[in-house]
Amino acid sequence: MEIFMDLVEKNGLIMGFLVIGMIVAFSELFSKKVLNSKIPGSAIAIFLGLVLGYLGGVFTGGEKGLADIAIFKGVGTLGGAMFRDFAIVATAIGASFYLVRKAGLLGMISLFFGIGLFFFMGVVLAYAWGYRDAASLCTIGAGACTYIVGPVTGAAVGATSEVIALSIAAGVVKTIAVTIITPIAANKIGLNSPQSAMAFGGLMGTSSGVAAGLAATDPKLVPYGAVTATFYTGLGCLICPSLFYILLGMFF
């Protein structure tokens, strides 16, 4: 047993491939046999991933979900920023540059609209919860955009660490919410074409949530949603601590 554990720890990433393979196999089987393929296997697998991430946090008290358990460390490598971004970029191979250019304006409009919407709703909710200073309001509003915009903004405007942690948590909740709601709502909101996926990516922003949600809806839409969503965090980091902070400063 000790030899086995040692082997697994030395080959973390390989173990990660095996673990994810098993999660996918289980989810596909569950989708086919129990749910009559009503919910796609990928959606179940992503949801199951979140559940395992929760359990990992409960057992270890750490910050990286399942990856905090030593033998599952490789899952964290496979799901880390490097592989995630590399695989997102690879999805562009299936996208048509012509369609991206055609939907460029629509994507840009949704991008600005999305950041404004999430930021100001976040600010209003933080206000309702009793925060009154511009730095805290701005940081929580930024956290409602993504879990990267939150801490970047918080550090720039000098928010307390408690508020920064809160903004990260809000961003992670957002990612989870988008992941779960997208496949359920896709049909009703007209999310079914490359153009609509680009608008969706710009509006929602969280590139992991958008990509996971679209993957569970229709994998062909992933590159189009991802190409706009990836600009969201950068644009958010740009305007939340500057323009939006100055705007808030006029009122608080």
Binding site: G56, G79, A90, A170, V173, A177, A199
Partner: protein
């Protein structure tokens, strides 16, 4: 062996894109990557058009990129499993409300944006 050309092309696009993202971030005075992945995706699309036009793409080369394209969902599952889900659901009501309520609102706004700005 040509499969590595595909992976290398993907790596080149990735690195140029990330570099552009960090470059623009520094230029704008914020310590963040501004759309690096988005730039990388556009660069890869342009490379592909150029390679196809010159007949430089081969099946093996396509496979090198396509492997990572298809690995995308498994990587997302791994990512979901390594998120700090527990703290996200237990930091208190504001984190959950501020994270979820705007998302629900955005799902209602989305059809309006499509209706007003989407031209066929």
């Amino acid at each position: 062996m040509k499969i590595i050309y595909g992976v290398a092309l993907l790596a080149l696009s990735y690195l140029i894109g990330q570099w552009l993202g960090v470059f623009f971030g520094t230029l704008l005075g914020i310590n963040a990557n501004v759309g690096g992945v988005g730039f990388a995706m556009i660069i890869l699309m342009l490379f592909k058009e150029w390679f196809v036009k010159n007949n430089w793409m081969s099946t093996d080369m396509d496979l090198g990129v396509d492997f990572w394209n298809k690995m995308y969902i498994p990587v997302v599952i791994a990512m979901a499993a390594s998120l700090n889900v527990k703290s996200a659901v237990s930091t208190g009501t504001l984190a959950i409300v501020a994270g979820a309520v705007p998302v629900v609102a955005a799902f209602f706004v989305f059809p309006m944006i499509l209706k007003n700005f989407h031209k066929n």
